[in-house]
Symmetry: C2
Subunit: 326 residues, 2 copies
């Protein structure tokens, strides 16, 4: 089986797949910066391509049987551009890491351990109970809303229920899902959820239906203490509206891991937004690392390998987004 790895994922993938398959596969790697003729040769050769992006600019891939996305997001994939005879699959496996990140964010918001560490290392006992320090809140009894109730939302919910939080889940197709949230609704219930939550976790795919779904009106409908957590894709929350709401105290704060602008090999100085989120004290921000754990990578490459194995053996592909069209 001829397997082509594209982009930054290639390094790790070459090693893992080589160890697993040995001479049962031929491996090659490419990157977008390669010469056009080189890329054309790779695509003409490949039976499996592992890539987070694919669009109409890709040269013909007459032998492609599987486009395996080594991540969950499809927003860089133009499905219509993928040759009809190829199946398209993705992987998840990031939900544990993202749920842990989300709790790091909620707990830092409420408990503030790292913030207090900085002050206390400076010698400041402010806040200590014996000197009359102010009390803080508890996650227990608070309400977290999950905009999206797929793998990520449910991983957050399972932990939130153990923390005695209320969980309000929104999903395109409300139905019985484990764990059972305190409230389950469709996107039409967004207003009800916005008014109730202490934390709103954005954990749905970016689609034309969700782009900008959290705008000025939605932010104004939230408590002025509420915190938006975005671990999905930046543009699901409107960039200008979110910045304005944070600057003006419309909401309490945000924990943001996903962005509106990303670095490239040529420009690693770019700020993640045209708005200066980095100047706001009520924002915790990170460079798209919420799901980036060693466990996630090991599980994703295991699933990717499983699909190569299935393709060789004629078995069923997992996480099939689009079947091969005969």
């Amino acid at each position: 089986m001829k397997v082509l790895l594209n982009g930054g994922v290639a390094g790790r993938g070459m090693k893992i797949l080589s160890e697993r398959f040995g001479d049962r596969v031929s491996l090659a790697q490419m990157s977008a910066g390669d010469e056009a003729a080189t890329i054309a040769g790779h695509l003409a050769w490949a039976e499996v391509m592992i890539s987070i992006n694919y669009d109409a600019a890709m040269p013909p891939a007459p032998n492609l049987k599987l486009l395996q996305i080594p991540a969950s997001g499809l927003d860089a994939i133009t499905l219509a551009a993928v040759p009809a005879q190829a199946a398209v699959c993705n992987v998840y496996e990031h939900e544990v890491a993202i749920a842990e990140y989300t709790f790091n964010g909620m707990l830092e918001w409420v408990v503030g351990l790292a913030r207090r560490n900085a002050a206390f290392k400076g010698g400041d006992w402010t806040g200590t109970p014996s000197l009359g320090g102010a009390t803080r809140g508890e996650l227990s009894g608070m309400t977290v809303g999950c905009l999206g109730y797929g793998n990520i939302g449910r991983a957050i919910a399972r932990r939130a229920l153990a923390f005695d939080m209320n969980v309000m889940a929104l999903t395109r197709n409300p139905r019985a899902l484990e764990p059972e949230p305190t409230f389950m609704g469709g996107y039409g219930d967004l207003g009800k959820v916005l008014a109730a939550v202490d934390f709103l976790v954005i954990c749905c795919p970016l689609t034309e239906g969700t782009r900008g779904i959290i705008g000025a009106g939605e932010l104004a409908a939230m408590k002025d203490s509420a915190v938006v957590i975005n671990v999905a894709r930046g543009p699901i929350a409107d960039e200008d509206a979110l910045f304005a709401a944070l600057s003006n105290g419309v909401i309490g704060g945000a924990v943001l891991d996903t962005w509106y602008q990303y670095p490239s090999a040529d420009d690693q100085e770019i700020r993640p937004s045209k708005q200066p989120f980095h100047e706001l004290d009520n924002v915790l921000m990170t460079p798209h690392i919420s799901g980036w754990s060693e466990g996630q990578q090991q599980r994703r490459w295991a699933r990717t390998g499983d699909n190569i194995e299935a393709l060789m053996a004629g078995g069923d592909l997992i996480n099939l987004i689009r079947p091969a069209q005969p």
Copy 2:
């Protein structure tokens, strides 16, 4: 009923008890800095005393029926000094707050959201996956040891199990307790636990049996990546041995909320240890705030009021540490 409140807790307590009991109680407050004659008058008068400390220097309290400790720790109480005719009770209610603090610490250790926030606000994309950032670990699959499996240890365990962690519990009297930990043992199993844990949470009382129980030998028995979390009392971990282990890479780090030296009204500049823990990058440290939540305070004063009510009505006292001796 004549109720005397001692020390820093008095302000909040006067308000809460006054609202609850109205003219059913007479309230007074004192502090250690009052004149001796004033203190003697208060103690001669009181039927209930609410205080976190009591020792042989207290003047006679012939009318005292209840010493109510508005906290959990007994280490500032000399039980033998409390008049025999008085019952002694404490309160807990801090376990939710301390469990949330503990998870803030463990997650900041593994995910590092606040640490990464500081770098990213400075414009540094280091760690972002598309530029080849390193992966991190997951709490999932890690092992947390609870030295003590009372209210705090069990609150931590319930959350840890939802995070798919292994839980090793040590308690003086191993028995079936909810939630069921992965391993349950007595203090004689400390060596087994030390060798296995990624996080060791100290959450037992400070007694002559636990003072210094985590010393140089115990720290050397841990993984060099292990993290000690102390939410109980500083001296349960030997001050010099802990500092040496952290300085020399014997263990990976520590999250420390409880200390060896505390500020007084006269000296708020004192460092929390004679050792410069504040100079160590592998220490997260806070000023004894792990349990200091608004919910904890409301629950503690509710329980304290319940005991005053029980005393007036002849009902059963809750959290009775020592009965009145007729």
